[in-house]
Amino acid sequence: MLGYIIRRVLWIIPVLFFVSVITFVLMRATPSGPFDSFGGGRIAAPGVVAALEAKYGLNDPPHVQYLRWVGNLLQGDLGPSYKYRDRTVNDIVGEGIGTTVMLGLMAFTVAVLIGIPLGVIAALRHNGIPDYLATFVSIIGIATPSFVLAILLLVFFSVTLGWFPSQSARWWDNPSTWVLPTVALAGFPIAQIARYTRASMLEVTRKDYVRTAQSKGLRERTIVSIHMIRNALIPVVTILGPILAFLITGSFIVETIFGVPGIGRYYIVSIGQRDYGVIMAMTMLFAVAIAVLNLVVDVLYAYIDPRIRYS
């Protein structure tokens, strides 16, 4: 097991290398550079652009630039931002990453706490009213893209009802503003987890050990909590890793709509502005998150299901 974990951790390094090379190449293939236009469509004099490009070493051969980026990265330096020139990429990431991770974790917690009970209840009352209600909720979750959910929540609860403060300076300091972005982000994962849990519970219901427990005359509560739920959750764990990765990397739409001060909202802007350092940093951070979470899930899977053996 330890050997397996070490090999998986080491394998993350080449994965990140390829992800960074692909991102770097795509970025440089993009026509126009970071200094071709300034805010409001102003165009800088040619001499200024040349001077800026020289200052940041953008005229060096691509592989030199890439190696310089890797060298700086290994020293913990993500490089300068070409657009927010009073801040480095480290500053930008440092300011926002806590918020993005916190938002992702809150949505994840909500999704697990609602999705799993929903799926369990639906399976226990299979084809009953609770099942139909749970199915209805998960259909709505699947059918409503996060951007639609975000807009509807914002207009209905924040603008029309005025229950939650709308955006203003330092509005994120007020915890009640966290509610709507969390719900908007959690909608889809709730549905996914509920569907998965329901299917898994229904599968377990037909198992011999459940029938044995029933014929032994065990209390219904004992059967459900000890024999059914614990076994049914094993496959559910495997989708939790991708879901958490999706919540952390996919939050940029929700962050943009609500104006959450995380790092996600910089992503789209920085691609438009060719802010190379920010693009690279975001892609790498998200790739690390995905790789690590998948590893954690695989290890966790072997831990909770002793039948799984990695060699």
Partner: protein
Amino acid sequence: MANRSGALEAPAAATPRRSASLWGDAFRRLLKNRLAILGGIIVAFLVLVAIFGPFLTPYEYQAQDLQAVRQARGPVNPFVGPHLLGTDNLGRDLLSRLMDGARISMTVALVVQIVVLLIGVPVGAAAAWFGGRVDTLLMRITDIVYAFPDLLFIILLSVALRETAFGKALDGLLVVFVAIGLTAWVGMARLVRGQLLSLKETEFVEAAKAVGVSDFKIVTRHLLPNASGPMIVAITLGIPGAILAEATLAFIGIGAAPPRASWGSLVADGQTYLRSEPHLVIIPALAVAIALISFTFLGDGLRDALDPKLKGKQ
């Protein structure tokens, strides 16, 4: 009833047995699933709208009815005039734009899954058939693609290629479709590999090898057809993801070049008027929702119908 023309065939058994082929069984099970039927009917309707809708509407999706907008002092409300679902602030007929959007969404469904098949099936089949180093190499490649943040890759690729001929094809949509496909094939490759690894050890493959069938034919004629059930399910259930990805990208302004509008960009455009004209957001959002639900129902139904594990249990 049985074989009228069959003078040379063996006499029919006393009680002609209904063929119990995998597909026949699966189709019968599918017909019993009401949600799957509903999903299938809506999918068929959406496809028909995508093909014929734009020919049937009295308006072009980009045509502006400025007079109506001037009269209404803003977007025209639905159900009042000649514009059945109203217009946007520029006087463009919402129904016509929705139908053009259906064309975009259904094309996404098709093109992305073609890309997924074209990459995922050969990669998965090669990994399973050759095994060893080929398998390791190909699976490492899928790991890299899997670790790439999907939407970020699609955005980068479409921005990088925006000015090229490829980037401009299909009003700028082709590059988005292909980019979505390039991130989505990993699941298919893993599925095909898993299926083929177990099929590879069966006796009919050994028999085929013994009579000297070539590797390529064994994979394409014997192995892949046997794995086609799970592949069809994966394709159908992959479609909502592709439609959602396209709508999300359109919402942030990546994809269809104006005046063309995907359902996602209709939602984005309507956002400004949400308080006074909520239908401009609600109607395209409903269109996305209906497409996502119906493909999910159909895919779930297909999975239940084709999953041999459930055979005889329900």
